[in-house]
Symmetry: C3
Subunit: 402 residues, 3 copies
Amino acid sequence: DNRVYFDGGIFFDGWDKDDVVGVDENTTFNPIGNGATIRRARIAMKVVMHKNWYGEIDFDFSGSATEIKDAYIKYTNDARDFNVKAGHFREGFSMETTTTSRYVTFIERSLISKFAPSRHLGLQVNYMKDKYLLVGGVHFNEQGGFEEVEFSQDANKDNGTDEGYSFTGRAVFRPIIDNEKVIHIGAAASYRTPKTHLEVPNSYRFSTRSISNVNRKKYLDTDDISNVDNNTLWNVELAGAYKNMMFQSEYINNDIKRLDDLSDVNLNGFYAQVGYLLGDGKYNYNKNEGEFTQVSRGSEKGELEVAFRFDYIDLNDEKAGVYGGSANGYTLGFNYHINSNIKLVLDYSYLDHDRYANGKGKLYVGHDVNGDLTKDPREVVEAKGKAGDDYGQLQMRIEIDF
Amino acid sequence: DNRVYFDGGIFFDGWDKDDVVGVDENTTFNPIGNGATIRRARIAMKVVMHKNWYGEIDFDFSGSATEIKDAYIKYTNDARDFNVKAGHFREGFSMETTTTSRYVTFIERSLISKFAPSRHLGLQVNYMKDKYLLVGGVHFNEQGGFEEVEFSQDANKDNGTDEGYSFTGRAVFRPIIDNEKVIHIGAAASYRTPKTHLEVPNSYRFSTRSISNVNRKKYLDTDDISNVDNNTLWNVELAGAYKNMMFQSEYINNDIKRLDDLSDVNLNGFYAQVGYLLGDGKYNYNKNEGEFTQVSRGSEKGELEVAFRFDYIDLNDEKAGVYGGSANGYTLGFNYHINSNIKLVLDYSYLDHDRYANGKGKLYVGHDVNGDLTKDPREVVEAKGKAGDDYGQLQMRIEIDF
Amino acid sequence: DNRVYFDGGIFFDGWDKDDVVGVDENTTFNPIGNGATIRRARIAMKVVMHKNWYGEIDFDFSGSATEIKDAYIKYTNDARDFNVKAGHFREGFSMETTTTSRYVTFIERSLISKFAPSRHLGLQVNYMKDKYLLVGGVHFNEQGGFEEVEFSQDANKDNGTDEGYSFTGRAVFRPIIDNEKVIHIGAAASYRTPKTHLEVPNSYRFSTRSISNVNRKKYLDTDDISNVDNNTLWNVELAGAYKNMMFQSEYINNDIKRLDDLSDVNLNGFYAQVGYLLGDGKYNYNKNEGEFTQVSRGSEKGELEVAFRFDYIDLNDEKAGVYGGSANGYTLGFNYHINSNIKLVLDYSYLDHDRYANGKGKLYVGHDVNGDLTKDPREVVEAKGKAGDDYGQLQMRIEIDF
């Protein structure tokens, strides 16, 4: 399961390199750079051992850096309805996040995917029947980045701090499921203490690039939320498919409890998407994982898919004094599934950020009373909806999986 | 030979996160953090070329960093009793260090393994017969870490310094050897000049974590021993096995000669271990490498092994004014060899550090006359045996090799 | 196509570690360090998908760092005379640079290879017939180093800078070509804007080690050439082979246009080489790539090759005030092609640097009027030909490709 994704992005920021003097009506407050990148460059080694055992190690080298992705061992019973996994892998939370990037519908996952825990060291049990799926796990640190590993090791060396832990569970119910159709109703929860892989001990920070890895600006950023005691995540998932049509939606809620009488912080968001295959193909659903998998192509020439997603995230909590910004995203996507190894993707997105989406004070979000650009949301004179950067972006991907 | 090891460690340091005010009798002087980690995540490419030639490259990506491990070419004659290796591989010194981590008995090698040279660029000849084995090599720099490579390149660029070299030889005699039993008597020596991959030019530093990679504290640390002209290592090995029983022991001596009339430094230590297979399995010995290899499992359900090791290292040399600390270690281990690819390991160790094992002045090693914690061994009022941190630790490993 | 190359180098700098007081006649102005290194340690994954599609990812981990090398997808038509590549791969410029290091004649490519663009993200079309080859591409950033990727991402994040682009084309004509002989006439051109992966925005810097990766000194270095608007590269290639004889030569010209009325800068150089197989082997030419490929060995014992190259590079442009140095290089090489996987290489080179080759002010290039060593070319009293470091070097390589 080696893979490489090449991405390019063009941003309709209205800026002209050769004429940056004035900023007119159709221009973003901050210029955005067009570019191309290797989004993923992954090598995987997999092996089935002695029937019941499966092992995998999976590394990403995009950006000419090293990241450990999946690295685990799985024991599956003979009836194939129960397995235990140990190692570094995705926690059982959010059907979009647990879906491999290979089969995700759009170039980037939704804005709220930043809440979902993704890969951590831990132990997980899975029990799956046709109609339902149960997942439970205990998890520890991340090992997916050089810096995270270093922060953990320093916390251990210098302060002898215990690593922290998480308990995460997920349940999926499928009232209707056969080869042609599925209804998926899911919910998950996770109780989490701060881990030692955090850059600032006991501080959480939620930030995200806005549905693009080419545009490196993180408009949405809560900055450090300090003195965290623990947080609780929960979500609900509703999805379904009928032949060549699908929909998928999730809501995630994130409650952060703090020490020393500091206010709790609540962040949340959701997404909803629909997809349609234009040929004779059909959507497929993976019962064991509770998520969609590769589509069946309708002809030898491949299959064309059109899809739309609405995104909403809210990183503001007025009561707690956290203003990370909020945003709406609208994405129209076209996927050309050439064969089982190659996919071409074209996504147009429109982003609408609010006045608090100022990249923790680094980005302009409107004009002040003097008509000058300002990074301070309190000084912005623009009406609601006009403040904060809003723009369109066109992104392409060539995806190879082999 | 891809592999991934997941380790977890619990340390009986007597510290309670919620009550750190007082330090009572059953508490270590310094808190120790529990944790989990990916100890190894390795990808290897191997190939036999044209009968006599064998090539291998082997990388470790644990910690989301890159390390070159084995990378060499080997020519073996038709009689299979002679080979030449060129590249980056372990020098022929210490049967425990040359044994791959895959087949080492405990989660971590002995304390004295830090004296053994491990992998360096070089050229080695091996001559092996049933009754004996002879190994000789000339070696240069390490390439196994990004920093080491950078230090070497900077020394070359800025000062035009030659790289340094080592001559290393090992001889093994096996008076008794057949399919059921073996007696192994070995000795090795190595003459070494300082290499340019050292962080501080011409300075040696010997330090080690105490039989754990989860606890990052390096209690034992000589700090920089400067103005080194050369050092000479020698060891003796005594080992043997009879059916389901084995023992293995080594003594290593490390003599460091310094320039400018500075005192020579002598460091040394040893370990001795016994192992016992509880089922019908048996121990196997690799004649070509002069070390133990994978055990034969007695049944389809696997094989359970129990083992014990005593460890001693002395990094103090009073005459030379070097006080790196000394320690005793006692390790009781259980290995469950599930199949040829999977091993579960559980090790309980008790560590007993002396008052000089203060992590070069960073760790508390006792109380002073006022009853306050102190990092200065000269101020410690505790009696011998009571000074320095002593504690138990429980470590687990899931090991996959495929 | 995994590969590992081990290199060692000895430099005849006349310096004696134990006697560095005086600098005599036969001594270089700057000491040079002997050493050994892993020059390449590469893992590649390749796959032919569905007949017309080919994918590849290729990483280098030498120096215990990660570098993305080739990573692309290629579509080839059924007639096999046309293909399109997308991803990260070598631009179509310079037959020496596009030749894989596996089949390059000497341990290091020529001095002028630093002008050639090598690997960038982009899209390329190739059209090839027996008598000619046409290549055209549009290219963007490099992704081949962690720092380059970081510079690009920072430029995007902080300034919203567009990435930059290049248009590169190459044409090759082969008036004579059959299984025994070939005449190759080639030319290429590339128009390039500054990319965001540059350390100093809009600044070009051309520097090279002198035909060695062991000697880390960069005698030849233009330092930053600032305020670049664009540059244009062009080259001509003349090469040929008849049975066991070959020759190959290239001239490259590099024109850098600058903003703000700053002088344009012109840099250039060339190399010419001949090769001869001593056994019954023959040289082979790759029509699709327009370059030489692996030689055919004349016997089961392998094939011995002797080759000579003359190198010239000029990084001085008096008019523009750029003094990066110039150099002549003379290399005599012996290649023992043991089998298709293993090659032993021995290269003797003599380097002759001019007085401006002072590593941007870091290296001595002669004596001043007081007889003291000086790094300032204007103070050097040595006659032309005597100033600047001149020395011989002997390099060895063990090369494994599998």
